[in-house]
Symmetry: C3
Subunit: 338 residues, 3 copies
């Protein structure tokens, strides 16, 4: 529970309304009640705002007069919402304890107060910095380092010799440091390359649920500060992802791909191996990146969606595009000679 | 083991053959032996049926005369097969016990007979209804509810405050209630939105292995009754999926997507955020849904498959499609003026 | 640590340089120091080779004179690198022990020396052959068999009645033997087919992290010897994948797909159900395979990547491809009649 004036103080904002209003949680404008804090996104319509039952609303001063509730005033309601959500979430956090059912090797280093859930495994010479939380059933391999304040979700797997920076979140079922998909061919079949490199995460990195980040062949796979990666994403061996980039769900990067800073890959994007994408590139959903991108901007592939019946006709014609183009050229030539 | 007459009775069907025939398991027509029950799909060819060694076959009366074995007679052999498979599977079920190696918080509520495997974690105030089975190594967070007869597979993760209806199946490595991929931008980088909503599953919902269903931002992510979701599917925060819909493997839904009732998404489909798909829509494999769909029917995107050499020519021409269309218009105009 | 002459002996190669040079690990040419073994890929440029600080380099005799370091000489440096990586990795392996925190059912059969990590579950009548390693938190269901020398990664799930050959690797969070996505429709909704078949892996098979291989409906899902599968891949019920084939990350195979021997599927490929792909087929990245392939060769679908602005024009025209083709034919006809 927070008082309105307490929230305003913690968030460094001014407010209007009852300073002692009690706010127990957050809810959307439509479903909020008098004990809830809500927020209004500046680009949203005003009707839900006008009729909200919320106790207080995070709002831009320009929309304040439409709002019937108490207000936390901010020029960036979405950012304030993010910070307020963190305050309410922190109230729900459990105390930091090493559960008696955790399997912590005597050779692991717990540096300060950490939390380790039941069934979690922390191997020898793993190093957990202060404030680290390891979820139930998670695995931290030998020699790996989890930086201060970082969170490893239930059943996530951090293999050996992985380095995680500060205030990172590795979500449930993610795998950091699995072996890359590298094999040599021999007469006997595939021979595995045993990947001797590691994985290195900067600070404030997020790795989504069921996302896999393979370890490098000899050098490390590197994810720089402030990179956010969604669920079910594949980051292959020896990739490097630049600071502040974001990768949405179901995307996949093949080996040794380099992505610059502040790039955004929408969902379902594929990137072939050994290419480089420069800073400030946006790739739209389900695009296949087949070559290096050396100029900032937005890139796409694929076709638009249509009713299947119509699409089938287009798809059938696609197979004859080369012939269509040649026939057109022939017609043009005949025109000229006429 | 079942006797033929016992199976007919349990399935409410008539049969022909030896009522005391002993059937110990099920097998396909080609591999079944005299102790096996098999089935013949009405649209399949009859040669395997004619030569089967099965002890008994689930079969439509119209094909009965071709079948050399004893018979369970039904107008819908595939549905009967589904129900029979359930009878045989139930025989294999283990007794319901809470394993001594499970980590069940004293504050968890076990309502009636439940089964909890070794290494599983059930946190305080989680509520397990009668007949629930929690697999080894699975995780059920505080405040979550698992409805009567529902199954959570080994190593699956149910985060806190997730509500699962009755007779649901959450398969191994699935994650329900992970935090959504929502961040605000600040000068310092991405600031996480702490997702305070939950996930709500209706009754008879299936969530596939390694499938992720993120919790809502403030309101819940909702999956209605009888929805079936395959493996490796991403359901983002605040999605709503209508009753009876089916989503095949490797598909992904971005945030706040609404899917109607009785829709089917084939494998590898992507849906952008904040769109609505009405009832009774089918989307073919690997389609990208880029806008709302307001009319029932089938939708597609992409191109047909071809030999790479031919495809490269079409793909190269695709980049010049606009120019091709303009040139064609110019030719047509010249024709008119000639 | 290895001496240079010892490595040459183990790998069956000749060498040049100091036989007693001590090599403690492997590193890339650019980052290697005097205690590191490195390798030079025959197709790579020579400048990094010329300036390397490595203690020794795996190299083809034809490039030997450019290399300032000691040398292991081989006609196939990449294959030798694979084998050398295995020697260094083996030095890091932990001793084989059954951890006191593992949950091994008294009815499980441990045949010889095996390693089982903390929190792992091995159910009754599961059979682990000599040299098997089960990672922490992994699950091996009743009746399943893990062949000699095979490795199951931390938190991987092997359901019941799955057979794994020798020297396989099942990576973290993979799921073998989950139920297939098969349902019959009834008036009440979807009715699950309870999958009574199993999963059968040959020898030297690799299954990537978060990859799912569903069990067969009645017969088994089969993956033959020497198949390698990357992360986040879906293999549906009753698929069969032929010897030596490779499937890259984020691909998905629908039910009853048959893939021949020595095929390669690049990343993000989708294959519809009930099709057959013959031996020696290559499918390029993000292709959708919509029909059987009966001739060896390379196959593709999709479009090339372009700047989004240009792509939008092409995509818009794609919807009118049929009309473009018809208009072109009309123009050609008028030409003929002129």
């Amino acid at each position: 529970m927070f008082l309105l004036e307490e929230l305003a103080d913690r968030l460094g904002l001014s407010f209007s309304g009852d300073p002692h209003r009690r706010l127990t949680s957050m809810a959307s404008l439509a479903s909020a009640g008098p004990m809830d804090l809500s927020y209004h996104h500046p680009t949203s319509q005003l009707d839900q705002l006008a009729s909200t039952q919320a106790g207080a609303v995070i709002i831009s001063p320009s929309n304040a007069r439409v709002c019937p509730a108490d207000q936390l005033l901010t020029e960036d309601p979405y950012l304030t919402f993010a910070r307020a959500s963190g305050l309410f979430a922190a109230k729900r956090a459990l105390p930091a304890v090493v559960h008696s059912g955790a399997h912590v090797d005597p050779g692991a280093e717990l540096l300060g107060q950490v939390s380790i859930g039941p069934g979690a495994v922390v191997e020898a010479s793993a190093k957990l910095h202060p404030g680290v939380r390891i979820g139930g059933g998670a695995f931290v391999g030998r020699g790996s380092v989890v930086g201060a304040g970082s969170i490893v979700g239930p059943n996530a797997v951090i293999h050996h010799d992985v380095v995680i920076g500060e205030r990172c979140v590795v979500h449930s079922q993610a795998v950091l440091g699995g072996e890359g998909f590298g094999f040599a061919r021999s007469d006997a079949g595939w021979e595995r390359i045993h990947h001797l490199g590691g994985v290195r995460l900067g600070d404030r990195v997020e790795i989504g649920s069921c996302t896999t980040v393979d370890r490098g062949t000899l050098d490390d796979t590197v994810i720089e500060d402030d990179v956010i990666i969604d669920n079910l994403v594949q980051i292959a061996h020896n990739c490097r992802i630049g600071r502040g980039s974001a990768i949405a769900a179901c995307s996949g990067l093949a080996g040794s791909t380099v992505i610059g800073a502040h790039c955004t890959l929408a969902g379902g994007v594929g990137v072939v191996g050994h290419v480089e994408i420069c800073d400030n590139v946006h790739v739209t959903g389900m695009t296949m990146v087949t070559r290096s991108i050396r100029q900032a901007g937005s890139y796409s592939s694929g076709t638009g969606m249509a009713a299947t019946r119509d699409w089938k006709q287009s798809a059938a014609r696609f197979r004859h595009l080369d012939s269509i183009a040649r026939r057109l050229t022939a017609v043009e030539k005949r025109h000229k000679t006429q």
